[in-house]
Subunit: 354 residues, 2 copies
């Protein structure tokens, strides 16, 4: 029977799969909740979204997603506090960024209410899927792709917006070693690097595989012209602590405006840490590693939260980072996680109760 939640039509599944899920041993993004939000663009407009049972998508073989890569996505997380409240973190920023990505990929922008009310209705329906275990969360994946048909290389006339959720554990397992890239690139000036576009990820897989074969888990991308400036890690923005200064690259048309990144900058400043948003070169990082002033490196992103980097490779040389007792990474991760999970005050107004 159909119901309405937040004015969103809900068609419930009659077969939950929640009892098959081992909530004590969650991988990242591997099992999917019972429902999804579905919303179609056709005849020149987005039509009202519905919560429907999670299930297969059927497309024509000429659907443009298969040919021309028109796809964008977001990553978010939902938590449950001790009182059972469902909590999000800066969800409007994800919505706004989705539309920034949409514009660059020539995808029609989505109305805010379809995103926000649709998301809230979905979370209410699948609220039992939100893990309670520390370090776990319900990973939320809003995404849009081109369903319109035809082999002409031009924007599609039809699209699908979906939100699917997955109860998830940590994104990275074990110590994180990264390779600073000298040959391959993630994005171009004037390109789509700032957008969460599918194609940005596929292009990273092969260089990342090469890095994995050498014993690293991730690549740190550098600018495509000189390979001298640190950019981002594809799934994370990068922070570098030299002495007591925390440095991260400014956003640009090549670098994603990460929500965790900007929250860390604000949080660190509020906590009185010295934060500099500036271009930083590989040479500076290597020199700091050599003279001992390089104290920490960490990645920051929704999926990875704050992931400390244990060491990095560059031009066939390996550099280990010191094992400090009190790290900025640890301090900031606890602060941001406490805010996200309602374990402390939220002076920034980031927490969002569904």
């Amino acid at each position: 029977m159909n119901t309405l939640i937040n004015d969103i039509e809900v068609i419930k599944t009659d077969q939950t799969t929640i009892n098959n899920v081992d909530f004590d041993n969650l991988q990242f993004g591997h099992v999917f909740s019972d429902h999804m939000l579905e919303c179609d663009y056709k005849d020149g407009k987005w039509h009202a979204p519905k919560v429907v049972p999670y299930g297969p998508i059927t497309l024509d073989p000429s659907a443009k997603i298969f040919h021309y890569g028109q796809s964008i996505f977001e990553g978010m997380k939902a938590y449950k506090d001790e009182d059972g409240n469902i909590l999000l973190f800066r969800p409007l920023d994800n919505f706004k960024r989705l539309n920034i990505s949409a514009k660059r990929l020539a995808i029609p922008e989505l109305p805010e209410a379809y995103f926000m009310e649709g998301l809230k209705a979905l979370l209410k329906v699948d609220s039992d899927w939100i893990p309670k275990k520390e370090g776990c969360s319900l990973y939320i994946r809003p995404f849009i792709f081109a369903t319109g048909k035809g082999f002409h290389a031009s924007p599609a006339d039809e699209y699908k917006f979906l939100i699917s959720t997955a109860p998830s554990g940590a994104y990275f397992a074990g110590k994180l070693k990264v390779l600073i890239e000298e040959k391959y690139s993630r994005s171009a000036n004037g390109g789509v690097g700032f957008a969460k576009a599918g194609g940005n990820y596929a292009g990273q897989f092969y260089p990342t595989q090469l890095a994995i074969e050498k014993g690293y888990q991730q690549v740190i991308w550098t600018d495509d012209n000189t390979h001298e400036f640190i950019e981002e890690a594809g799934a994370m923005n990068i922070f570098i602590r030299i002495k007591d200064t925390l440095i991260t690259a400014p956003i640009s048309d090549r670098i994603l405006d990460g929500i965790t990144r900007k929250s860390i900058i604000e949080l660190a400043k509020a906590e009185g840490l010295n934060v500099e948003v500036k271009k930083i070169t590989v040479s500076e990082v290597v020199a700091a590693a050599k003279d001992g002033s390089l104290k920490e490196m960490f990645g920051a992103g929704t999926a990875a939260v704050i992931s400390p980097i244990a060491g990095f490779g560059y031009k066939d040389e390996d550099f280990e980072l010191p094992e400090l007792e009190n790290t900025y990474a640890g301090f900031l991760k606890k602060r941001i996680t406490d805010i996200q999970t309602n374990k402390c005050e939220d002076p920034f107004g980031w927490r969002y109760k569904v």
Copy 2:
């Protein structure tokens, strides 16, 4: 009933749609033939392809094609000569390039026999779909995309390879005006610009829309660092004739190794034309337009064949190309089309009889 053609299993449709098609008024890539080739990668290998009725593809919402842009494709054309022979043009080059794209996008490479024998079986089954009208052809779209599931940003473990075909007319209608890009970019050094990856196309749509709003049909991409070097047009490589020299940019990791492009270079050389493969700057082209030494510009690609450019825009200035009686574009287009359609000898061995 299932049959075997070229050792490929064929499952025929019992409902042809060929009688709905107006073969005298074909658009490009708009109607699709009765059958398609389908081939799946799972459990670590590609499984034998089948010719099956053209029909919908069903995917899990977490299929990686929707999220991480792992998709590549090729473009080819089939012709029928007066004796009813089915003809392809350098098909092995498309196969090889598909695997070059596959490697860069971390997609498992495809066995040659699955591509070639599968394609031939498909064309034999749908041979009635090959248009006979001059300027028309059966456009062939081989493509591979990630079907494996999960929200982790890593290569999929399952893929689908399809070949679908579409009886098609001309790609461009009317006079072609192009805009030389000064802000946006198509590809990065060390990126995926040389691959036929879906994401390369989506990134071009928005800048192309801006160009269309200004009265152009296509963008000529320049390098992302200086915007001074002419690269390609996204759907075509670019040739520029200054006086009696035909110039095109060398291929690189940013520029597609176009099969029409390299055929034109060989053909023009064999015909005694002066051809130079070298970097050419926007300043050179603008200066040549101003002093009258710029005789022709044209795009070259499988879909567009050879498309003469009537004029270009750069920095708010418009340049018209002269209307010559005997053009290299016209001469080379006739030569290459005659070879493709078996109207003349083929000294290069490019024509391929199915």
